[in-house]
Symmetry: C2
């Protein structure tokens, strides 16, 4: 249903983003990159949760020198996040990372930019320009009353793009994140009209699990619904596993990707004669591990439930002390309330 | 920043929606409406959490007859949710409810519609037409390959609108909810071009707390960001208090309303040298009760934190074993990590 904006295809190790390639879910480690074992462990756990590209912070040369070792022990593309220091970028590329995130305007002289670009070209390593509200150049901010507006963010991104294009480097991905949702949406909308490079979506400093999930769902979800975005990263002040879970949920809700269960369940109301909240929660929990796509409905009333949720692969609808199990809108059988969960899960396992 | 679509102003008891009026947060009781005491108790708890309009299911005449009693004991407008039975609508209006939700096409003969409309007119009670994927007329569904597409939902809404307008009734609010997010967004976009009546936003059967929050944030958030929507209801298979909390969070994130704290916090990364996740969670929890608008930042690093979060009223940024408290981007003082929370809360209380 969503018509995606046309973008250039960029290869990131074994993965591709842009064009008609799937919108990939990324995250970032919060381990000390210098601790390769802890970082590898976290990356492998994240991959299991559905993470498809992983980024690590590279703060110093000691950390950069661990990248090769980390890379060898993981299966998903590795991205090095670098600020200011071109030598860290060169080392990361040398170590075999699959992408670097660096803003060329912050590296220093043109010579240094050129060195990074040449190394990246040689190893076919793309560069993500990562602009955010805090990184906009003072000179650009000054034009916008010292506010990192959507226009300022866009201007900053285009400035960095030009620095790379100057050396004929076009293996570019761009992000342009604000912590304000409206501004994030507006910035990506503006940028998407200016460039054909794939866009990495995110709302920066979104907040804790609950707050950041809502902010990210609005920001990332709105843009994806408008066809903008080729890879996403939900930023949460929480375990990065949570970021991956939320990322997938957003993509599933927008029918952009399939993975595991899509759950439909009605809000309970005065009509509900079954203890629906714990049942829906139990179904959610019991089906968390499933990776095969399936739509499950947990509905409050027998009268409307199966009809309203006829698009679900399987579902339950509650009556008084009993419930029905239904499949694609057709009732299979009536069972006692206490057996509903068990019987539903048995049907799900059959699928 | 958001330019709201122009809509007619509709009065719902002591509240107004549409035009430039604030976008109101609603919820629905999941108590048995017939149990007036339990219903009143839930409504008052919901009001305390920020609920501004409350709806109750009216299943039968016994429940309808309790509406006046409920109404007397609450401070926010009361909406009666009625399906099919015009006599329940007449009784609800008689009992003094502030709005009824009923789809006129489901009432039966034109005489019955007319009776409801005349009663509503007399008492100045608006009617919300509530179309959802499960309620689209078979005749309309047939035109769309039996699918409740965005066009089918819109056609159904317009059909009900015409039935009311026929009797010169224009005190109308409309909702057009699908459980699919893309379809919900598309339906509201279509409808918003066809009518000037205020729109009540929601994604139906969105799911359990976590799943439904994400789905609702995408659907409701996208539409609000586009200027569509005059009142919102987040549907969750959970305590309705959660619906109100999520509703407010969406409005706050989009700068459409102010209430309590807006929290900005960075995702931790290899750069973070402070135990940021529990700190951010503690700040979130400790500031939950605040209703006065305030933006709080919890940032991982002293170097970038205060600058990146310069729009925050107050914030903390972590260093190694210490942190700084900052106000509008300016550092107030450095404190030990263990005292950060206490000192931050003290500063918040001063504001």
């Amino acid at each position: 249903m969503i018509k995606r904006r046309e973008t250039k295809v960029i290869k990131i190790g074994s993965q591709k983003i842009g064009g008609n390639n799937p919108i990939l879910v990324q995250s970032m480690c919060n381990t000390d990159t210098h601790d390769a074992a802890a970082t590898v462990k976290q990356i492998n756990a994240l991959q299991k949760a559905g993470c498809e590209i992983i980024r690590v912070a590279v703060l110093n040369m000691a950390a950069a020198k661990k990248l090769g070792q980390i890379k060898k022990q993981i299966q998903i593309p590795l991205v090095a996040d670098i600020h200011f220091d071109y030598q860290l970028a060169l080392e990361a590329i040398q170590q075999g990372v699959d992408k670097i995130r660096i803003n060329p305007g912050n590296i220093g002289s043109e010579d240094k930019i050129k060195m990074v670009v040449e190394a990246a070209k040689k190893k076919k390593v793309p560069i993500r320009i990562g602009v955010n509200s805090g990184s906009v150049e003072k000179r650009i901010l000054a034009k916008y009353k010292n506010k990192a507006t959507a226009l300022a963010l866009t201007e900053s991104a285009l400035y960095h793009v030009k620095l790379l294009e100057k050396f004929d480097f076009k293996d570019i991905v761009i992000s342009i994140k604000a912590s304000d949702v409206n501004r994030t949406i507006a910035a990506y909308q503006l940028l998407s009209k200016k460039v054909r490079y794939p866009l990495h979506l995110g709302v920066t400093e979104a907040g804790t699990k609950w707050i950041g999930t809502i902010k990210s769902a609005i920001g990332i979800g709105s843009l994806l619904n408008q066809g903008i975005g080729d890879t996403i990263r939900v930023s949460l002040t929480d375990d990065p596993i949570e970021e991956v879970r939320v990322g997938w949920e957003i993509l599933k809700d927008l029918r952009l990707r399939k993975r595991g269960r899509v759950l439909i369940s009605c809000p309970t109301c005065g009509r509900t004669q079954i203890n629906l909240i714990p049942l829906a929660q139990a179904v959610e929990k019991a089906t968390e591990h499933i990776t095969k796509p399936i739509t499950i409905a947990v509905m409050g009333c027998i009268v409307n439930g199966p009809g309203e949720a006829r698009e679900a692969d399987i579902g339950v609808a509650g009556g008084k002390g009993v419930g029905v199990i239904f499949k694609k809108g057709k009732t299979l059988r009536t069972v006692k309330e206490k057996d509903l969960l068990k019987e539903l899960l048995a049907e799900i396992n059959k699928l």
